[in-house]
Symmetry: C2
Subunit: 331 residues, 2 copies
């Protein structure tokens, strides 16, 4: 069975860990074939800091599935140290709101060096995964640089003549990490996305899939941005595979992260139904939490209510199983 999943960072990675755990418990599909999981990872929160190219979502998936993740935190490396970061601070290096661990820096050094030599991000990611053996084929959504920027009010800027407050754009990471998404996002822009192409293998992985899965990743800045890569959404609309998704919203609040701040920015309600609506042009099945069982689904979307809290490995594997079962129903 060929499973293709789109994924952002922590939430997506945890779901994928559960998916692999579930698949491990049934090593072949009903027809006796092996499972092949392809993950299309979000790269729009990538950022260059201290001269290092950092791909937070790809790394979170790679570390989580490869056994290197900080388990409680959900991002960054287990057993991390901060020798480099302490020194960068002593030099007064900016920005100081993003702290890179030493172990993590080694990954960024490898990536930055390979990119500098001209390798595309997809090749770099494959090379890094050769060490981590995540058990999936991890593809960046695009080899082209795409960066999410967030337009926020600029209290120090001059208001326009008509009184409109001044705004400024900051990198998504600055809004997310430094400002904790607490400053309202006036607009969320994926800079560079119009010119971007899907990375090699991405469209094929969607077209050839037996199931396409949307884990409970951020519907705006993770799944939403992946879908905005030219050609990608069309491929999902066109695939014969059922598309099933897991709601990132439970009872009107994000399971984790600050998806509500992103949904508000694009004028969408923070609810399981509203997120399903964003995917209504291709979504076949939608898993929601029991409390959201009365969500009104877009036409043609099959709703199923199951416990959605990824509280431990078993619970997470059960969600993944429910997603695959729903896909089987739809097939």
């Amino acid at each position: 069975m060929r499973i293709t999943a789109l994924a952002g960072g922590v939430g997506g990675a945890r779901f994928l860990r559960g998916l692999l755990d579930h698949l491990d418990s049934r090593p072949t599909d009903p027809s006796g074939g092996p499972h092949e999981v392809t993950v299309i990872g979000n790269t729009a929160d990538d950022v260059t800091l201290h001269g290092l190219r950092i791909c937070p979502d790809l790394d979170t998936v790679m570390y989580t599935l490869g056994g290197g993740i900080h388990p409680e935190q959900g991002w960054g490396r287990a057993g991390e140290t901060f020798g480099v970061a302490d020194e960068l601070r002593a030099y007064g290096a900016e920005p100081q709101w993003f702290t890179l661990g030493d172990r993590d820096i080694a990954t960024h050094l490898m990536r930055t060096r390979m990119l500098g030599l001209g390798y595309p991000l997809s090749s770099v990611t494959e090379a890094l995964c050769a060490r981590w053996q995540p058990g999936v084929r991890l593809l960046p959504m695009s080899d082209d640089p795409i960066e999410t920027h967030v337009v926020i009010d600029d209290p120090e800027g001059e208001p326009a003549d008509d009184g409109t407050p001044a705004v400024k754009a900051v990198h998504f990471q600055e809004w997310w990490v430094r400002l904790h998404a607490a400053v309202p996002a006036r607009q969320i822009l994926a800079v560079g996305i119009e010119q971007a192409k899907p990375a090699p293998g991405v469209l094929e992985a969607i077209a050839d899939a037996d199931v396409v899965v949307l884990p409970p990743s951020n519907p705006v800045v993770s799944i939403g941005t992946i879908l905005a890569v030219p050609g990608l959404r069309d491929a999902i609309r066109a695939t014969k595979a059922p598309v099933v998704g897991v709601s990132p919203i439970i009872g009107g609040a994000p399971v984790r992260g600050m998806a509500d701040a992103c949904l508000t920015a694009i004028g969408v309600e923070t609810s399981a139904a509203a997120v399903a609506d964003l995917y209504s042009d291709f979504l076949g099945g939608w898993l929601v939490a029991p409390g959201d069982a009365d969500s009104k689904m877009p036409e043609g979307v099959t709703l199923k209510a199951v416990p959605l809290l990824m509280s431990d490995a078993e619970a997470t594997a059960a969600i993944a199983r429910a997603a695959l079962d729903l896909a089987t129903e739809l097939r």
Copy 2:
């Protein structure tokens, strides 16, 4: 008193520490003016590893004088950790014979980033020194990239038709660190030096000096390479300041390091007198160890014998004092 010193790595840095300690004990010169020390640092053992631009000699001087050096080792940072290096090894990153510490990597990240933005090495060095406050003005000998390569036998190469064994060139660091200079150097080449220009301020620091000092640095790959920067040796010949040097050789062996392997490569005997000979066109005074007091000096060079082992801070300051006293005699 304006003192200009040429310097390589560990030996030069330790001597300079002693020089500053000595000057601290007499905060003004005989005429009542302040001391100003300019150090022209060797950059020909610079190397790019893991995408990081590393300047071992400049950093050794900066860390030693700025209080960050690993005191016993003489290079690298005190309290160093190796989180990044362990991970790079796990990725199989080459080369594995050069281990970078985490604290040190922060310096290289700062430097690599600034060079990437177009700042010349002299500006980068000044920026790094703004943190370390080494108490000297530290100038790279050149802003242009110069790399010492060493020609060694290549046992895996095809011999020439006439039976001449095959050779290959390796970066100086590979010969020094990986091969411990134990493989004979057929030739030592400063690649790029013909096209290089002295960094801003270098020629002026020599012309305007009251004393020019050669610490006991490697006479081939440190002092020798600095002197080979076009215009630099001529400036030392032309300066009105006395030029005094400290022999890096005591009783036929290097005080530390593997200068003998370098001297052999250029066909020069490992002796205090033979090194003085290399500098005979500008040298005014030469400090040797008591056991070398009968060294035959080139014409016009005043020899003085004093204990030369930099065994502790006091002994090192005494050597620096002897060098300045010898310069005073010559003036």
